[in-house]
Amino acid sequence: MRKIELLSPAGDLERLKIALLYGADAVYIGGKEYSLRANANNFSTREIKEGCAFAHNLHKKVYLTLNIVFHNEDIDGVYDYIKEVVEAGIDAFIVSDLFIVSYIKKNFPNVEVHLSTQSSVTNYESVSYLQKEGIDRVVLAREVGKDDIKEIYDKTKIDIECFIHGAMCTFYSGRCVLSNYATGRDSNRGGCAQVCRFNFTLDDKPFTMAVKDLNLSYYIKDMIEIEVRSLKIEGRMRSAYYLATVLSSYRRIIDSYYDGTLNDILLEKENKILKRVSNRDNSSHFFPKEADLTDQYYSGHWEISNQDYLAYVINYDKDKKLCEIYQRNYFKIGDTVEIFMPSGKVIHFNVDNLYNEKMEKIDTANHANEKLYFYIDEEIEPSSMIRRFYV
């Protein structure tokens, strides 16, 4: 059995590197054109090339989203763009418009084509058709449950990719243009304004359609056993800290399944971490059963923010045992913090010393992005992150 892939979003080059360092087997990114997150930073061709080189050096992969629903005006230039990004080194395209598939397969047979969830594929006959068209992998609609996923795989043997974590759409992907009507922004061309999260009224009473985030961490074992090929995290707009946290947790869950150590205690622990980094409640939605009233919100205020993320580790000087960091949120001498590293190692540390850039002793870290230092005996990996520790 092939080991399941953990697939991460990456909104820019920094986050691509963080995602791959923290356990993603592959990342999906958007270029400056033709991607469904027009509002993300997205990658220039030069950045795609650098990202692919970084990934390939780690024997990992980069998938490029080309998943807008094309209008006539978008067609000119797309073929040149495809050639350009293939030469930059991408491993697969994620598409939703079928006209592009045969062009890619004919001209670039070594590049995979994955069908985006935007196409809302929900059954094995559709998959069977798409296979004949040259689709290598299908990102199934998030409305497809466990039994249907298994049946689709059993009948087609296609590579199946499923979302496991992050924000959910209220409606079938590709089948919602609320954004177009409410804001004039085209939801199927990267402009989605998330109108489903707006506050509405029904008979003059508050009405919302907003849904909770997806969290399938308790079902990773099931997904591996029904032979899902790739587990996808949502969120090309998410922060590096969010990605590092979520990927670390899923990496541990996946690896523990394969080495036989997955148990309820580990799942509970990882879920506490996942919930802390999330800004909404979460739910399993359609995977184990049909979604119901528990998967939605019914009042207007549900977004929360936290200040768990304290600092990013730039470097560790082994000789001096000195850790160099960028401050992200307020902390002070006497706080106990948790340092989690790209390798998966986690240590706890009581902040008993802290220095500014001039190596003057300070008591508090209270300036965003300030470069600071502390001494610590244990070796800290570069790109580690420091978060608040809760017992």
Partner: protein, 285 residues
């Protein structure tokens, strides 16, 4: 162009003064037209053998639905209907598997937006495309110029906005311990109104403003094969008046500008949608 009425009323004879082309939904497989069982569709074709009847199968299809769908497609294929209007791509697979002869209408709602994909589906055996309501008149003209597929477009009615598998109304009323008392509700933001409706397949939202596309209907009369006027959620008598206006414009008995004003008087909550208004693609440069 011919007028294609999205039926909301079983009495076909009411409409025959204005058109002989209709679109209905197949029970349990359709989300925005009058839903009929196969036997009812057979009866319509028997009673009105000369009408153009399109059957909409625009639900998202799941594995459990496929066997029933196959049977229904085989039955429909015997009826000499004018087209199967489909959303789910499985229909293309089933067309080949079942050797279906009925013309197919590619109708992936908001995704039917460019000439290249139209040509792709034409090459795959689709005779028609039902174009997205979010494209402009000039985009429709360009699609006509650059593809071989026959075009169906939407010109009057409440535009489809969103469809969810979730039971958004049922959940809302359950949560608030209230009873769902109406079939259709209005939901509002500060600036806008939408209609929300549920059936066993999920929840459908349409815009609260009626599309009054009589001017592009006239302008595109040589480019579009069928223009859809959907009666859903619209008073039957008013809808018949609208049909008469469209017929008059099509037959050059009435100026389209004047017709637009007449329809606007009948429906104060109407506009011309995206025919002359492009949506924004890139928010940030």
């Amino acid at each position: 162009m011919q007028v294609l009425v999205g039926l909301n009323n079983r009495n076909i004879s009411n409409y025959l003064n204005y058109t002989n082309s209709f679109i209905i939904g197949l029970k349990d497989f359709s989300i925005n037209y009058l839903e009929l069982e196969i036997d009812e569709i057979k009866k319509i074709k028997k009673d009105y053998p000369n009408i153009n009847l399109f059957v909409s199968i625009n639900a998202n299809i799941f594995n459990k639905d496929l066997k029933i769908l196959e049977n229904n497609l085989c039955e429909l294929d015997k009826l000499n209907i004018s087209g199967i209007v489909f959303y789910d791509i499985s229909i293309l697979s089933l067309k080949e598997k079942l050797s279906l002869k009925t013309p197919l209408v590619w109708s992936q709602e908001h995704m039917t937006t460019n000439y290249n994909t139209c040509n792709y589906f034409y090459d795959k055996g689709c005779e028609y495309v039902y174009l997205s309501s979010e494209i402009t008149e000039s985009e429709i003209k360009e699609i006509k110029e650059k593809s071989k597929i026959k075009i169906i477009s939407f010109f009057f009615g409440y535009p489809e906005v969103s469809f969810s598998k979730r039971n958004l109304l049922t959940n809302y009323f359950l949560y608030h311990h209230k009873n769902k008392e109406k079939e259709v509700y209005e939901i509002k933001t500060d600036d806008d109104t939408y209609l929300i409706k549920e059936n066993k397949l999920g929840t459908r939202i349409t815009h609260g403003k009626i599309l009054n596309g009589i001017i592009p209907f006239k302008n595109l009369s040589d480019d579009v094969s069928f223009g859809i006027l959907n009666e859903d959620n619209i008073d039957h008598e008013l809808f018949l008046k609208v049909l008469e206006i469209f017929k008059d414009v099509l037959e050059n008995k009435k100026d389209s500008k004047k017709a637009q004003e007449e329809i606007s008087k009948l429906f104060s909550n109407s506009d011309d949608g995206f025919f002359y208004k492009k949506t924004i693609y890139k928010v940030k440069e």
